[in-house]
């Protein structure tokens, strides 16, 4: 088994940044801000954020912001809460949150809360617990959680809890590891983890580990490197991560590396992308892989950044 090809992954991410015309970049165009978050966070975990011109990134991000306060996935795309979180996370990463008009942004997010406590993703009204997490995460980073009705927001998330202890998009929706991360993360940030049945959910989550060592997102599905993040971070927040075989998972992630050109894929021998590269590296960080910065399981940002935001005054 090889080791983590740190330098190659750095080069891979920097090369993705530069490519704008190949097919993947075009398909990804509408969520470039997500891509930037994945890439930059990975660089920071690898200790190489310094290679990026942060002024350039910040000015591009600000160009994605709309008058409403929300951010689009790229310049010229509509605002949506999905991209607003990435913008806030990137600015936090670059220690540049002060460029934001916090009140304007806060108004945008709090304006998306519905009467039942849930959140819409944008003005078109799609409701999903992913958006609850995003709203709560953003506002917490901005120290503005008091601007929404947290109790209602928490109750809505709890109403999405299922027989297996997991959570779905809306009440009645099936549990899915990504969705569980969002709900557990939102409950963690609001000090509400007592609503989680930690042993039941922990068992469901640890059974996501399949024979190859990789994790899947739902029962009887294939493993995928991205669940190294969704499942692991959830297990960590509820203190049940020791219920999986960490060494086997490390091996699975390392097997998904492109050892020639850098980058990590969903499964061994598949094509790499920046999304899976981030989730692979972040997963290894959660597994305490040597040489990587530690990442916070709830805010999905490096621990030192989060500690600076909450304790560094």
């Amino acid at each position: 088994m090889g080791e983590l090809e740190m330098e190659k992954h750095v080069l891979y991410i920097l090369s993705v940044e530069k490519k704008k015309d190949d097919f993947e970049s075009v398909v990804m165009e509408h969520l470039r801000i997500n891509g930037a978050y994945w890439g930059l966070t990975t660089l920071d975990l690898l200790g190489k954020l310094g290679t990026v011109d942060s002024d350039e990134v910040v000015s591009w991000i600000l160009k994605c912001q709309h008058d409403s306060g929300g951010f689009g996935g790229n310049i010229g795309h509509d605002p949506h809460i999905l991209y607003t979180l990435s913008a806030v996370q990137i600015l936090a990463l670059l220690n540049n949150l002060d460029v934001l008009d916090v009140d304007k942004l806060t108004n945008y997010i709090s304006g998306l809360q519905n009467e039942d406590g849930s959140f819409s993703g944008d003005v078109w009204g799609e409701v999903d617990t992913r958006f609850s997490y995003i709203a709560i995460c953003c506002l917490s980073i901005l120290h503005r959680l008091d601007r929404i009705n947290v109790e209602k927001a928490v109750n809505y998330i709890v109403s999405c809890k299922n027989l297996d202890g997991g959570f779905g998009c809306t009440p009645g929706g099936e549990s899915h590891a990504g969705q569980i991360f969002c709900c557990v993360g939102a409950l963690a940030i609001t000090g509400s983890l007592h609503h989680v049945d930690k042993d039941l959910l922990g068992w469901w989550l640890c059974e996501r580990q399949v024979k190859s060592g990789g994790l899947n997102g739902r029962p009887e599905k294939l493993p995928d490197v991205c669940y190294s993040w969704w499942v692991l971070s959830s297990l960590i927040m509820i203190d049940r991560v020791h219920w999986i075989d960490k060494e086997k998972l490390v091996r699975f992630i390392l097997d998904c590396q492109d050892k020639e050109n850098g980058g990590i894929s969903d499964r061994p021998d598949d094509a790499v992308d920046v999304f899976h590269t981030y989730f692979g590296v972040a997963g290894l960080s959660l597994l305490e892989y040597p040489g990587l910065k530690a990442i916070d399981p709830a805010y999905a940002l490096p621990v030192d950044i989060i500690n600076r935001i909450f304790f560094g005054r």
Partner: protein
């Protein structure tokens, strides 16, 4: 390792790639799209929707359904056209075109959230045929029976069409019968059944019959392919539905019914032949009254619980939930009764009566009310204040945890035994027994037999795990139906064996079984007096003339990774949990009498793991030496501990209050947070990754009461 690995593309991308024409078109469109299709720009420029732009937009979405701005553009266009349109047929044409587009986009990528939402949005705009939606869903769900977007959409349409739950339940039955391995169908079934059971239409939907049928259905899945996980969680859910008591029940308390508590204020309890389990010493002039329920409850207060005593007026009592997360609910609740200011040195006893008579306001997290009124009484004697001894007591002399400081004395222990367990004597009234249904215990017995049979045929993990759970459930049910004296865990030994087998059979999850094993072991050890007394030792203080007697519960060297059965141990004041494998001490917060605690040589990873100690007002002596504090970059208790990160500590909380030279406080917030609220006199912390001299200086600063740190006098 040098060979060039041929890297496959993900499926979706491969399909797209193969169509070069589309790729070219896509590039062209995307170059064009952002500037032309941005809905904000369009809104500003007076809603221009040309035929051309709409066509480009739909082509774009058919190729890339994730281009969300294009969906927004179409919504704006639809709204624009509907505004000026009154003819129902024309409206239908506009909306049908949208549905056609969504359908075509979904055929490209049926996981597209944007496409599914567009469909929902269109349905909300006009009176469209929902039958068509079901036909489409049938196609999609046949093609991918696990697509959760489709299942979500199905629930949405079913609710819109007001399809009865029974009919949708039938759909899940068909799906399951055509393929047992359909977790999504099992999931939806649990949702529908919960609704139906929740409605409690007595007679038309008899709970017990329904659950019995469900057991039969899930057996077919489990026994057809025991390795398929689809039925696992459903079976566990059924088990939970079978055994879960609806109403909360008080399971234990401290003091217990009929006990005589001897309390001393700011002094030492000396020479009393009475039980150290009912002796209590307090620095603060108050003593705890603890109520422990069988599940998490809220609403314990002076209106729901009445305490009659000379100590405090009932209305003045403040009840606090003993939970580490500052929520309003907990399994254990405490109130502190204040000693009266009595100069009289006679050993006079005062009676205290506790009554949960008007307790409807005590509610479980599932919304069930407390319905078993009960009361209990105990007496409290105030120990004469003997100034000679006020300099003694726990934490006055250094506590040493080595074996030679402990001894056993069977006869003395036997004398103490009546009060050692804090069972609540009147847990369940007899009349409750009479009304209790026999169905749960019969069902569990039947399940146990079935799974034993399965295991006699094949050695499978889920069979063993389920059998272990069934046996534990059986013991739990029996403990509810019997008096506390018969509270025996008859299956503990077999369950422990099953769990040990599982550790070998399924090594990847061995620590899950290990944690379960620890809980069952704790249940076993505390299940009766004889077993528990084996772990009770006398602690001999080194220099005193040995009139101060302490009893220590020693649960050391048991390889415990977790603790449980706390409800039975509420009276414990000195506890040795050293040389185990503890990663967490969750639950310890209920042990309000605890004054000396040994957690050395465990696997505690971080200071945040000590959060339960913050609620222990009496804790004086703590040994956390030889753990793994500071050795891990990822803190798994970070969000289970109150802190500014989870908004459970006020934002005014500032670590800089305790600023010490040369220490970056941001790195030690956990330690400050935990230790600041404690009144420790003795702390042992050696053998952890964090213990450098600077950190020790910090500890001395935040713990002003500290006398010994790692055996050294700090003064």
């Amino acid at each position: 390792m040098g060979g060039v690995v041929k890297r496959k593309c993900t499926e979706d991308l491969a399909n797209l790639r193969s169509q070069k024409m589309q790729q070219l078109l896509l590039q062209k469109l995307l170059n064009y799209a952002p500037s032309k299709l941005n809905s904000s720009i369009i809104t500003i420029t007076n809603c221009i929707y040309t035929k051309e732009s709409l066509e480009i937009c739909s082509k774009l979405l058919e190729i890339n359904p994730e281009a969300y701005t294009a969906w927004n553009y179409r919504k704006l266009a639809v709204e624009h056209y509907l505004q000026s349109e009154t003819d129902p047929d024309s409206i239908k044409t506009i909306l049908s075109e949208e549905l056609r587009l969504v359908e075509s986009a979904l055929r490209r990528n049926f996981k597209s959230y944007g496409a599914w939402h567009h469909r929902k949005w269109v349905l909300s705009k006009g009176d469209l045929s929902l039958d068509h939606e079901f036909r489409l869903l049938d196609q999609f769900q046949k093609a991918d029976s696990r697509n959760f977007n489709a299942w979500n959409y199905r629930r949405f349409v079913a609710a819109m069409k007001k399809v009865p739950d029974e009919e949708e339940l039938k759909f899940t039955t068909d799906m399951i019968n055509s393929n047992f391995s359909n977790y999504s169908a099992w999931h939806n079934r649990s949702i529908l059944l919960s609704h139906l059971l929740g409605k409690r239409v007595q007679g038309s939907f008899p709970r017990e019959e329904v659950l019995t049928e469900e057991y039969e259905l899930v057996h077919q899945a489990l026994f057809t392919d025991p390795d398929d996980q689809s039925g696992w969680f459903y079976h566990l859910w059924l088990l939970d539905q079978t055994v879960k008591p609806d109403a909360p029940v008080l399971v234990s308390s401290w003091p217990v019914q009929g006990s005589d508590v001897i309390a001393s204020f700011n002094g030492n309890l000396n020479g009393c032949a009475s039980s150290p389990f009912t002796n209590f010493h307090s620095d603060t002039g108050e003593f705890p009254l603890i109520l422990y329920f069988n599940q998490v409850v809220e609403g314990v207060n002076s209106a729901t619980v009445t305490v009659e005593s000379i100590f405090d007026k009932n209305g003045d009592l403040v009840w606090r939930p003993l939970s580490t997360n500052y929520s309003r609910n907990a399994q254990a609740w405490v109130t502190y009764l204040k000693f009266p200011d009595i100069k009289d040195h006679s050993l006079k006893s005062y009676s205290v009566e506790v009554s949960l008579a008007h307790c409807q306001g005590i509610i479980s997290s599932s919304g069930s009310h407390y319905i078993h009124p009960c009361q209990f009484a105990f007496t409290v004697s105030l120990q004469p204040l003997d100034l000679e001894y006020t300099e003694r007591g726990p934490g006055v002399e250094m506590v040493v945890w080595t074996d030679d400081y402990f001894y056993t004395n069977e006869t003395l222990l036997q004398d103490l035994s009546p009060t050692i367990l804090s069972f609540h004597q009147q847990r369940i009234k007899e009349d409750h027994d009479a009304t209790a249904s026999m169905w749960p215990s019969k069902t569990i017995a039947n399940e146990i037999a079935l799974f034993r049979e399965l295991l006699s045929e094949i050695d499978c993990k889920i069979g063993k795990l389920t059998l272990a759970r069934l046996l534990m459930a059986h013991d739990t049910i029996m403990s509810y139906n019997k008096t506390p004296s018969a509270y025996n865990k008859v299956h503990s030994e077999e369950v422990l064996e099953l769990l040990s087998d599982l550790m070998k059979l399924d090594p990847s999850h061995s620590r899950y079984y290990k944690d379960e094993h620890s809980l069952v072991l704790m249940q076993k050890v505390t299940s009766n007096r004889e077993l528990l007394l084996k772990h009770c030792w006398h602690y001999r203080e080194s220099t005193s003339s040995n009139i101060h007697v302490s009893i220590c519960l020693r649960l050391n060297n048991l390889s415990l990774s977790r603790i449980g059965s706390i409800e039975i141990l509420l009276s414990v004041q000195m506890l040795d949990l050293s040389h185990n494998e503890l990663r967490s001490i969750e639950g310890l917060e209920a042990m309000q009498l605890l004054s000396c605690l040994n957690l050395s040589n465990n696997k505690l990873h971080s200071f945040t793991a000590l959060e339960p100690l913050r609620l222990l007002k009496s804790l004086k002596v703590l040994d956390i030496s030889y753990n793994e504090m500071g050795a891990h970059s990822i803190d798994t208790r970070r969000y289970l501990c109150s802190s500014p990160l989870s908004h459970t500590v006020g934002s005014d909380w500032n670590v800089d209050d305790c600023k010490t030279d040369g220490i970056n406080m941001t790195n030690y917030w956990e330690a400050v947070l935990i230790f600041r609220g404690l009144n420790l006199t003795q702390l042992d912390i050696v053998g952890n990754a964090v213990t450098d001299e600077k950190f020790k200086l910090l500890l001395v600063k935040i713990l002003p009461t500290l006398k010994w740190l790692d055996g050294d006098d700090v003064h």
